[in-house]
Each structure stands twice: as structure tokens, then as C-alpha cells.
Symmetry: C2
Subunit: 347 residues, 2 copies
């Protein structure tokens, strides 16, 4: 009989935790038991997974006994405080926060791109940032075939990436507008931990995460640094502009990229993407077919369309990349990391 | 006594026509009379401008007698059918449609950028596309100082650019979502005249105007072709990705550009934009100050912020450009064209 796994979800009550609960019943490894861990405040709450009900337990250092795989998505501080306890208890930690992503001893993995890095783990695997994952899923097959020199990306990111409270804040703004009430003072978006907050309804906010010394936001630098690490190539240029739009689920990205070969055609790029793992090509402009955020919701794939040659630089191309930021961008990619490790006998 | 001008608004009842009615009382030339022209269906309707009420008249070829300046924003077909009649009656036509923009005998003018082209008119001046105007207002002062080789732009365009009915369609979708009703089958967005229509609420649509043979949309090619014509330089590279977002007023743009000099700094770009005509620099990241669509509504200026050096190409920069698409993007720029022509004694 094959091994069965006990799984913990740390941050079980959050927006990403909810997606773990939705997706785990379809994981490609047998599950013996599931532990839902969250703050003391949520302990005792009952939550359903498939047709079973589980009671949320308080996250403590003793909570990981018997756990084989622990999915962390409760903020970087929680991973820093409790991750080692989980590893010491014998669990593999798959961490959805940014705490260890750039740590040289931690693999940062998108299974379609760099599954080979999983073997180098020291108990913890980092799940990349949502906006990075869908971009590298689309870019990596192109890179394998034609090389990749440089990327310029502008994102159209969904509010769910800022958490359940941010969704609630935006939806209340729309309700207030439609009923003629005054909009409550924003308290979360664009960045919960930053000083100023702005209206999201009918607006566009060019700030995700805090600003860095080089005038880029932390989110933008994640796209730069994580792409290089996942692809294992520091020479690839990546500059990002990360923008929040009033969408609930599904990040969209306008991606410009330069390949390393002459004479590559739109059809060449389409052909590569048509057969690429985790990618659905939606590029039929005669029938107005292109990826849309609302169509990507609760879909596992990354959708790519609007492929065009740059009008000036012969090796330059543009494409439009959309994926569910809570699924492939977070919970699903983490589960796929665990699936790959089980298949590779690393767990 | 200085000359007084009789002004006609063709398409007076539309989304842009409404902005002409708002802005004309502040025009920098004396107005003798205003004629509101629209389809037969709207004739007889009463509309206010300032503290006066005007009766809408039917648009016919005889409607332009005594008109000095005729602002057209009723679709390209209307300009093609009625524009010459207005010119023959002695009016200067300022056309907000795309019908004559690329006509080599028609000046395409943004007054901050190429006022000198007005003198070459043959009775008709074309007002550029909304997304082009705000971009060239921001780029031209940079180009004057440091040269400009190449532009890559991704837009976040407001629904008002698709007209009053498109706004209504989107707002009804939000109301249906918030009240739990079913969303009516979309009939307008993304492109009224195209075959398929998609939900705009909580969605992002990477199509504005119809697709061309090169896989770009007509809107994207407007940005390419109009930028070269306004700047009078075919060697500037421009590739665009034009995207509709669920915003009512205010286009936002993520603009990457390459200057023609080494060693240009963020501060150099900021200094040029701080003194540029029609531009407001909003680039104070320490205080989370950057342009936002909702702040640009009913403002005359183009707002620029988030200026960064590209991380890979030393002559490359990124910036975020926002303006009211119905004001500077349409009615205001048309009025400014007329103001400039009056000042230059061309009318």
C-alpha cells in the first residue's frame, strides 16, 4: 500500500487557506489526515473539506506532530516563527510567504519550470509570488526553445491577492456607490501595512507592497528576483510595474519579452505554448478569443493570448497572461510542489 | 472689440458632447452663440450650458451657417458626411474621431506638443486618440531634453472611452452582482461594433477597437501611428497593448521609454516634467503619492509618477501616466486646439 500523508494548513481561515481546503481533496497523493491551524482567535471554528468537517486548532510549535506536509500561508512572520518547528517534527514545509524565497538554501519552485530544484531542499520549499508564477509558466517554454534575454511586464492584479478583508473593502465601496451612500474611509488597500489607503472601486492603484530604495515596489522586485532564481539565470533582465485593478480573482499581465534568436514568428510562439505544461493558448483574434480574468477563476491553468511581434525590435514579442492568483498563484502551485515531491520520493 | 465666435457641438448628447458643454464656458475665446447638433432623434431636446439653455438641432448640411468652430464627436462617418459642409460654410472643424487623423493633409494636434502644425490646416484639425494624447504630453518634454528612441506602453483605459451606453452596461453589471441578480447578456463592451461582447465588471478586457492583420487592435495602432505623426518623427518606435479596465473616468498608462542619452537620472526626468506644460508631477513614493484615475476626473492636466530607471537597459525608464480621457483625451484638447488657433489668428 502506498504511503498516506498527514497535511497541515497554516493560515487555514485566510483567502489562500480557503483555496487549500477546496483543492486538497483533488491532490495527487493519498491524504490520511488534515490539520487546520490558525491564530488562537480562530481555534475551535469548524471548516469543511470535501465531505468532512475539521476543527481549527491553534498554531503552536507543538502542533506539527505527525504532519508530513505543512502548507504555510499566514504571513512571513508566522513561517519564521513556526516553520522550523514543523521541519523539526519531520514535516516538509511549503511556504507561500516571501520570507525564504530569496534564501540561497531554499528552493523556489514552479513545478512546470524547475522541479529539479526540489531535491536541494532543507525542509522548506518556497512558493513564488503569484504574479511571478504565471509569468514564468508562460515564459519558460519560450525560453527553452528560443532563449530569453529580457522581460518588461505591467500587471493588472486582483484584489484577492491582498486578502479577504481587501475584497470586502472593495465590494463595500461598490455597494456604497450603487446605493448613493458615502464610501467609508479606506483602511486596507493598496497595502494593508502601509500608511495611506485609497479607494479601489472604479480606480487603478499603481502600488502593490511597499516602496524600495530604487523606487520599485517590493512586489515589482519579487517579479525581478524570483524570475531569475526560478529560471536559474541571473542574466535575464526583468523590470515590472505592478498595479492593482478592481477585479476580485485573476491576475492579468501584459508581458513584453525578447528572445535570443532571429526570425521567430508569432506562430512559433503559439506552437510552443500550445504544447506547454500548465498553459492554455487562447489566441484566436478572429473570434475575439483572448484570456480574461473572470474566465480564469477556479481554473488550474495559465492562459496566454494576444501574442504579437513588437513593431520595432525584431526579437521582441508581446503577450497577455492570465491565471487564478489564489490557485496557480498560491494554493495550487503549493500542492503541485508537494505532488512533485511525492512523485520524486522526496517526501 | 475682439471677435466673438459661434461654436457648434456635433454629437452634443454623447459622453464627449457632455464634456464640451461643461468645458465651453471656460474656453479662452469669446463665445457669441452655441449650436447643439445631434441626430434627428435628439432634436428638440433642451440642454444647459452654463446658465443658458439650448435646444438640440438636427445635424444637416445646412446646420453650419454662421458657425466659426465646429467640434465633431459623433463618429467618423458623421465627420466624413458633414465635415466638408461645415468647412464650406466657413467653419474650422475640430474632429474628435479617427476619420482624418492619419490623412497627410490634416494636422493632428496636441497643443502642448505640436501647435506649429495648426497653420497647415485645410479647414479640419484632427484631435488625437485619448490614450495617445496623455502619453505624448508626458513624453514630449522628455524627448525635447533627452531624445526618445522607443516606447512600450500598456494601458488601463476607462469605460467612458466606449461611450455613455458602455458605462451604463458596466454599472448595471455591478448592481446585478451586488443584489445577487443575474447579469444581463453584455451587448456593448469591449467594442460596440464587434461581434462578441463580454462582462466588464470585475474583469479586464485586452481588446479596444477591432483587430488588425498584424494582431494589434486599431486602438493600439492609433497609439503607434499618431505618436509618430504628432511628434513628426517616424523613427520613434511605439508598441502598445490597450486594455479596458472597470473604471468609469481616467485612463492610466504604464509607459516604458528609452531616451537617446546616457547617464539620465530619475531626478532629471522629474525635473523636466515638473516644468512641463499640461503636466503635474505626482511622484513622492515616501508619501505614497502617485497618479490615480479617480483623482484625474474633471482635471485638465496629465499626471505623471512612478518614474523609475529600467533595471537592465541604462537608457530605459518607466513611468505611470493618468489623465481624464474625456477631458484632455477628447473635449478639452479640442477646445485647446481652438484656443491655440484663435491665439495664432488662424480662426
Amino acid at each position: 500500500m502506498s504511503k498516506e500523508y498527514t497535511v497541515a494548513i497554516v493560515g487555514a481561515t485566510g483567502a489562500v487557506g480557503e483555496q487549500f481546503r477546496t483543492l486538497l481533496p483533488n491532490a495527487k497523493f493519498p491524504i490520511k489526515d488534515i490539520k487546520l491551524l490558525a491564530s488562537k482567535r480562530s481555534a475551535g471554528k469548524e471548516l469543511a473539506i470535501g465531505d468532512k468537517t475539521y476543527v481549527v486548532e491553534e498554531l503552536t510549535k507543538d502542533a506539527f506532530e505527525g504532519v508530513d506536509i505543512a502548507f504555510f500561508s499566514a504571513g512571513g512572520d508566522r513561517t519564521i516563527e513556526f516553520g522550523q518547528a514543523a521541519i523539526d517534527a519531520g514535516a516538509i514545509v511549503v511556504d507561500n510567504t516571501s520570507a525564504f524565497r530569496m534564501d540561497p538554501n531554499t528552493p523556489l519552485v514552479v513545478p512546470e519550470v524547475n522541479p529539479q530544484d526540489l531535491a536541494k531542499h532543507n525542509g522548506l520549499i518556497a512558493n513564488p509570488n503569484c504574479s511571478t508564477i504565471q509569468m514564468v509558466v508562460a515564459l519558460n517554454p519560450i525560453r527553452n526553445q528560443f532563449g530569453l534575454d529580457r522581460v518588461i511586464v505591467s500587471t493588472y492584479q486582483a484584489v484577492s491577492g491582498a486578502g479577504a478583508k481587501a475584497i470586502d473593502e472593495m465590494r463595500k465601496q461598490y455597494r456604497a456607490i450603487e446605493t448613493g451612500e458615502e464610501i467609508a474611509e479606506p483602511a486596507i488597500l493598496p497595502v494593508g501595512g502601509d500608511e495611506k489607503h485609497y479607494q479601489m472601486a472604479y480606480n487603478v492603484l499603481p502600488q502593490i507592497d511597499k516602496f524600495q530604495d530604487n523606487h520599485y515596489t517590493y512586489e515589482e522586485m519579487k517579479m525581478t528576483n524570483e524570475t531569475k532564481k526560478i529560471m536559474g539565470d541571473d542574466t535575464i533582465g526583468v523590470s515590472a510595474t505592478c498595479v492593482r485593478v478592481p477585479v476580485v480573482y485573476g491576475h492579468s499581465e501584459s508581458v513584453y519579452f525578447e528572445v535570443d534568436q532571429d526570425d521567430v514568428t508569432i506562430e512559433d510562439i503559439q506552437n510552443v505554448l500550445r504544447d506547454a505544461p500548465g498553459v492554455v493558448l487562447e489566441d484566436d483574434i478572429a473570434n475575439q478569443v483572448y484570456p480574461q480574468a473572470i474566465n480564469a477563476e477556479k481554473r488550474t491553468e495559465t492562459f496566454v493570448g494576444r501574442i504579437r511581434k513588437d513593431l520595432d525590435f525584431p526579437r521582441g514579442f508581446h503577450m497577455w497572461v492570465v491565471s487564478d492568483n489564489l490557485w496557480k498563484g498560491a494554493a495550487l502551485n503549493s500542492i503541485q510542489i508537494a505532488e512533485q515531491m511525492v512523485a520524486d520520493k522526496l517526501i
